[in-house]
């Protein structure tokens, strides 16, 4: 903290000039169901206009975290603030759109009627034309007058998304928004998320579809066994590159040289070096030149980016080793 607070005037300026409150802030969230600890200690933030991906294996506590943020589940410990208001204050949810993991809408109503109902429940004033646009945005324009009872699961999920978006939310929380969608539907949702991002709406996206998260999220929080196992921007999490080498005649000295370049693993004649994120352009050529000097036969050299999936598995595996 570098601000100088010499007197009350400075303190007042400091308070007034605080950065705007985040879309989501939570600290030390904890929830136990009987003997089962669902969430042990989760702290995270979603900045305004940011798309944050929540990743983790089944049972990691993702949905419990979301329910605690939304006041649907009371945390045993910790606290949360949504859009500047404590989460225990129902008004904190006034500008939040939510698509639950398990959704079911009134099957006797049409899509238009479901949307109108939710606009009323939200206490929002959204003209009918805007509601129609919202249905169109999720690909339901032509089914607006049809009863929900006749909708496929994928179409109901699209409708759920429209419900989450219709009251002009500043924060949208989506729990597995593409679980019932086909690949085309998933692509539609991705472009919808990108358009939300462009219009400055913050999104908390819980999905175990890693590719989806990788494509749209600014930042990722990985949960494992109720705790934050890792978090960071995609750049931070995926900045690493991997170097695969097919080598012959590797001496002890050559092995040591390989290990200086990064974390080294070996399968048969294939050596894999996890290169640090800050490596420069000369790292790989210098390594190869040194290996040749050591008399190593270099058959193949390939650099690849570590995928989010690899990274996730790496983090979860190293967590289970602890």
């Amino acid at each position: 903290m570098s601000a100088v607070v010499a007197d009350q005037h400075s303190a007042q300026r400091l308070v007034r000039e605080l950065p705007a409150s985040d879309a989501v802030w939570c600290s030390g969230l904890r929830k136990r169901y009987g003997r089962q600890v669902a969430v042990a200690d989760v702290s995270l933030t979603v900045a305004r206009g940011e798309v944050l991906g929540l990743l983790g294996p089944n049972g990691a506590g993702k949905t419990s975290v979301i329910k605690m943020l939304l006041g649907l589940v009371r945390p045993d410990a910790g606290e949360a603030i949504l859009l500047g208001r404590p989460a225990r204050d129902p008004r904190s949810r006034a500008n939040v759109g939510y698509l639950p993991e398990l959704f079911r809408y009134q099957h006797w109503l049409t899509a238009t009627e479901v949307l109108a109902l939710h606009v009323r429940l939200a206490g929002a004033d959204v003209p009918a034309a805007e509601q129609r646009e919202c249905l169109a945005a999720v690909g339901l324009a032509r089914r607006a007058g049809d009863r929900v009872g006749g909708f496929s699961k994928g179409m109901q999920q699209r409708l759920g998304l429209a419900v989450a978006l219709v009251a002009r939310p500043q924060l949208v929380i989506l729990d597995e928004p593409t679980s019932a969608l086909d690949p085309v539907g998933r692509a539609d949702i991705r472009s919808l998320l990108l358009s939300l991002k462009n219009s400055g709406v913050a999104v908390l996206l819980n999905s175990h579809l890693i590719g989806e998260v990788e494509r749209v999220c600014d930042r990722v929080v990985i949960l494992d066994r109720g705790c934050v196992a890792s978090s960071g921007t995609l750049q931070e999490l995926l900045g690493q590159r991997e170097l695969k080498l097919e080598l012959g005649g590797v001496t002890g000295a050559a092995s040591e040289r390989l290990a200086t370049a990064g974390r080294l693993s070996r399968t048969g004649n294939t050596y894999t070096v996890a290169l640090p994120a800050d490596q420069d352009a000369t790292t790989v050529p210098n390594l190869v030149a040194d290996l040749v000097r050591f008399g190593v036969h270099v058959h193949a050299v390939e650099t690849t980016r570590i995928s989010l999936e690899d990274r996730l598995l790496d983090i979860l595996r190293s967590g289970s080793e602890r």
Binding site: M1, V5, D7, A11, Q12, V15, S21, I81, P86
Partner: protein, 364 residues
């Protein structure tokens, strides 16, 4: 509306994202909350100074030193927020083994060291006589450099070592060992050692005259031979064992050091002693206390700050050796100091007098 809690106000500084808008709006226009923010800021600044580390492994001892220095030097901010007392109390407790003015006071009695820069003054000779100085008197003590040149020959080098064996190897002294720790003091100690330090002080009548003139006084004529007279000051090595409690404050400190020695070149000590005592800038009561010491260089003064006037001293014996007990803050902090065979030993901590004496008498 109710004031936000202390924890919420702290977040304004260290985690603003955790402060709800309604609390921000309240705090921005509430004089009570703004005053509290000022206090929080000062606390945070102090903690940041105290616990900043250059390496990955926090050095609790070093942090404690920085904290005590920061507290000693920081009197502002608390008064504005109306919470003077706790800060002052903590500050005064931590400052107690202060060594400000140490060099000058030590030189005045002929036995000396100028280099006591760490938490434990490295003091000397065969008997310790505490000198109780109030803070104002310490501030008025002239700096040694006002009276001549002080050349550091061997620099202060106090550092942490791995264990008792390493401490003994580095210092050549037996590391303190305690069979039975007082209640509440737990775990293994950390060890610190200090190498021998030495300095040469050359008295300059011209420099002393300038200092006197600045104080609006006239320097009394120095006795023959004192101008240009050299005093060599040697101290250490020393070793300390520190048991730290949960808050990071030392719960128990045991220090041992080869007692410092002062060497005079030519001029008899008594002459220099009387003259130095007469120099302008030395408060009368301090001069009187110093005069009461033996002039043969075997009594060493232990200058202590006592801003709250709640320091008491008394004489005891530790295994037949005369020792001095220091009791501070109504018994919250106690210490005992004695000299035996040219080695000075001090036991101090957040303990009662009985507890430090038990430790002192049971030292291995």
């Amino acid at each position: 509306m109710r004031h936000p809690t202390d924890g919420t106000l702290r977040r304004i500084l260290d985690e603003p994202a955790g402060v709800a808008d309604v609390d921000r709006e309240h705090a921005a226009d509430c004089p009570v909350c703004l005053a509290a923010v000022c206090v929080v800021h000062d606390d945070a600044a102090l903690a940041a100074i105290a616990f900043s580390t250059s390496g990955d492994v926090p050095d609790v001892d070093a942090a404690w030193q920085r904290l005590s220095q920061a507290l000693a030097g920081d009197a502002r901010g608390y008064a504005a927020a109306g919470s003077t007392r706790p800060a002052r109390r903590l500050r005064s407790v931590l400052r107690r083994p202060a060594v400000a003015g140490f060099g000058v006071a030590a030189l005045l009695t002929g036995a000396s060291v100028a280099a006591a820069a760490d938490w434990l003054p490295i003091f000397r000779t065969e008997r310790i006589a505490p000198v109780v100085l109030d803070q104002d008197a310490l501030v008025q003590l002239p700096d040694l450099s006002a009276y001549g040149e002080l050349e550091i020959v061997e620099e202060v080098d106090v550092r942490a070592v791995a264990d008792a064996a390493a401490a003994e190897e580095a210092s050549g002294l037996e590391a303190p060992r305690v069979d039975e720790l007082p209640q509440g003091v737990i775990g293994d100690p950390t060890y610190r050692v200090g190498e021998q330090v030495s300095a040469v002080f050359t008295f300059s009548a011209a420099r002393a005259a300038e200092a006197a003139a600045e104080a609006g006084e006239t320097l009394p004529p120095p006795p023959p031979g004192l101008d240009g007279g050299r005093f060599r000051l040697v101290a250490g090595p020393g070793v300390a064992a520190v048991w730290t409690e949960a808050r990071g404050v030392p719960a128990l400190i045991i220090g041992r050091a080869i007692a410092p020695t002062g060497y005079s070149s030519g001029i008899p000590f008594e002459t220099a002693h009387d003259y130095l005592l007469s120099l302008p800038g030395l408060p009368l009561d301090v001069a009187n206390q110093l005069r009461s010491f033996s002039a043969d260089g075997t009594t060493f003064p232990l200058p202590l700050t006592d801003p709250d006037g709640d320091l008491t001293t008394s004489d005891v014996d530790v295994d037949g050796v005369p020792a001095t007990v220091l009791e501070l803050s109504g018994g919250a902090v106690s210490g005992v100091v004695w000299v035996e065979d040219d080695v000075v030993t001090a036991v101090a901590g957040l303990l009662s007098v009985d507890e430090v004496l038990d430790v002192a008498r049971g030292l291995g």
